[in-house]
């Protein structure tokens, strides 16, 4: 019995663990962002990389300093600060000043994330607050849209397709001919490929959908939130546009709907964890987005819609949480034994 002296490890069950780690999940989100980042560089030039570097760098630095000052363990390794940085970069126009990006990063990490306890504790999406703070502080800089692919020659500023479409709706005519009669209106194919003005990460619908596919395949997110979010917007826009599918297609691809529905609304920390709650949350996001777009004075409603639903998440969870096994209310006619 030589093995009796041997020291063994004793720990609570289970003794096997799945391969999923926080770092791996965040890394997958970063990978899913890469197609959109590449698209942005092609469309808007190398300045995209500078913006991204400043954004990610500021977020990581802010995270590190915060944890140090608060005497808490270092959380840079979980890569969540990198994700926040990437998403802030995705939410600004290419013409933005770099210090503004850094400002957004600091607000997102310090105020929204670390003040509330760090990863998993923030009640709203840090990157979205970063964007909203910029929008409120520097409205002109945040809507200084640049024509894609113009960086090789002369930078040309332009209006955003979403604003144009919104103006048409408010004027009461969203017919096909009215949409196509707008100057410089990108075609639907251009919208898909991203040859339109907008924030860095939102323009290329195709790249965003590739990112979505990757997240779904890697099981980082479930299709629930993107499906119900985009679906709700689609249904409302279909009715609002009197079943004009061209209007619908522009509404879905313009603005930040796809970026928001795929990368922002699906943030674990600020969305409900259970299936029923996610449906309520996603429909709420869709509803608010559509209402702001159709009736609000702002052209875009995705950020505000998600933030409002983030705040409502604990309440949604309160009434959608699963009941302990066997204590559910009996359905009518259920087996009564």
């Amino acid at each position: 019995m030589s093995n009796e002296e041997k020291l063994l490890v004793v720990s609570p069950s289970p003794h096997v663990r799945s391969a999923a780690t926080v770092t791996r999940i965040m890394f997958d989100v970063i990978v899913a962002c890469v197609p959109s980042l590449i698209a942005a560089v092609i469309l808007f030039g190398y300045r995209v990389l500078a913006i991204t570097a400043v954004s990610v760098g500021t977020c990581m630095l802010a995270e590190w300093v915060c944890r140090k000052v608060m005497k808490r363990h270092n959380t840079l390794g979980d890569l969540s600060a990198v994700v926040t940085g990437l998403l802030i970069a995705f939410n600004v126009p290419v013409s933005i000043k770099l210090w503004m990006v850094a400002f957004a990063g600091i607000v997102a990490i310090v105020v929204v994330k670390q003040f509330f306890g760090g990863i998993g504790m923030n009640f709203v999406n840090p990157a979205l607050i970063g964007r909203i703070v910029l929008l409120a502080s520097f409205p002109t800089a945040m809507s200084n849209w640049v024509q894609p692919l113009s960086w090789r020659t002369d930078v040309v500023t332009t209006a955003s397709p979403l604003a144009e479409i919104g103006n048409l709706y408010k004027a009461g005519d969203v017919s096909k001919s009215a949409i196509y009669s707008i100057d410089n209106m990108p075609s639907l194919l251009d919208m898909l490929l991203g040859k339109r003005s907008g924030s860095l990460g939102e323009v290329c619908a195709l790249a965003l959908l590739i990112g979505l596919a990757y997240l779904l395949i890697r099981k980082v997110i479930k299709p629930t939130i993107p499906f119900f979010y985009i679906g709700t917007v689609a249904v409302i826009m279909l009715i609002a546009g009197k079943f004009n599918f061209v209007f619908l297609a522009y509404e879905l691809m313009a603005g930040g709907l796809l970026l928001g529905a795929i990368f922002m609304a699906t943030d674990y920390t600020t969305s409900p964890v259970n299936f029923r709650g996610q449906i309520v949350y996603a429909i709420g996001c869709g509803l608010i987005t559509a209402l702001i777009r159709l009736f609000g004075s702002l052209p875009e409603g995705v950020s505000f819609a998600i933030i409002i639903m983030n705040i409502l998440t604990p309440h949604i969870e309160n009434f959608t949480s699963p009941k302990p096994f066997g204590s559910e209310k009996k359905k009518k006619g259920a087996d009564e034994k």
Partner: protein, 449 residues
Amino acid sequence: MSSKKPAGVLSAVTKVRGGVAVSHNKNTANMAVERMPAPEKVVIAMQQHIGAPCVPVVKVGDTVAVGQLLGDSDKFVSAPIHSSISGTVKAIKDLKLPNGVITKGIEIESDGEMRLYEGIEKPDVHDRESFVKAVRDSGLVGLGGAGFPTHVKLNVPADKHIDTLIVNAAECEPYITVDSRECIENTENILAGVSVVKKYLDIKNVVIAIEDNKPAAFEAFINVKGYDLLGDSDIKLMMLESRYPQGAEKMMVQSATGRKVPPGKLPADVGCIVMNVASVAFIARYLETGKPLISRSVTVDGSAINTPKNVRVAIGTNIGDVIDYCGGLKESSYKILMGGPMMGLAMLDTSLPILKQNNAILAFEKNPALIKKERDCIRCGRCEQVCPMGLMPTLIARYGKIKDADRLNKIGVNVCMECGSCAYTCPAGKPLVQYMRLAKTVVREAKSK
């Protein structure tokens, strides 16, 4: 791995909630159970079941024979304990079981004769009462791992009508294969046991439920002579999805009947009895021979075991001896478990004896992939999605930390069966099962105040 469902085999009535897809690792599935020679010494614990511990009825110096009563209790929820070898009682001393319980252990030195106790005779069973008494006398406890005294389970109160007997051969824990070996090697015993339970408890339907990764077990039941389980029979086979924790009692009831056992209730409250397949087979053998529960099959496997085996060992055999019989431990052994990797208990050393409910001894080398540093919860919700009991593990952990017993009760902490699905899946590496246990103690302490 999963096999095609033969016609006539039922599928689950209701799909159970959550669960995790653990790797099966049924490495020993094709290894017939080997009988390990009787050891020179056994230590027989006086607590090998859920319920009251037994009090020794022998004293140091006594000579005992195989099958002789060593300990019993006058409490209802308890099961008598018998000697697994013949020889002399050398000592009665404290024994610390891996779950922390301290009980008496009766040490018996073998005389090498394996002399059968003369009091052993075929039990006289003619009605429900005498049947339940015989099961009690046999010392049988649930052999699937929980160790609940079987006679308690079979002693259904008169106001409850049982219409379904569920024979649990799901064996959803990775590595363990003794139940599927039981299906293959003792098919007739199982069916004979099913018949007597059915007869004396007046149960109409029997469902033998097996996960779909055990085609050989299905084959054994389909080919057994004298029964037609695919045709017009009260005994049916059911193929379950191989998904942990399919074999848990409440999951089995739901899969087999679609009924849900309410919190704090037993399967009998919804008209079901769930019995482990090896327990059923044992009943048949006991009624034939009168030989009590003194040995059991154990899967010995894991990366640190030299030659994995399924072995039939005398209860009370030193675990180290069992491992030595299976080629011994590798130098690199890191963790040794009593039971499966999802719910098994880690042991300090190999000095403990085999218990009645002990279905596996697993020894593992250090695997860095399985060690996760605990990080902050990111509210990904995986724990809640996989919880078969519909609980919110992170919320329970949080309320446990602040010792809020009222809220813990409200969100159903005691429904948790500690299956470990939440901790398995947690990307932040949280020891959630441990948090559940701590939360349960908060509730217990609040109640006792």
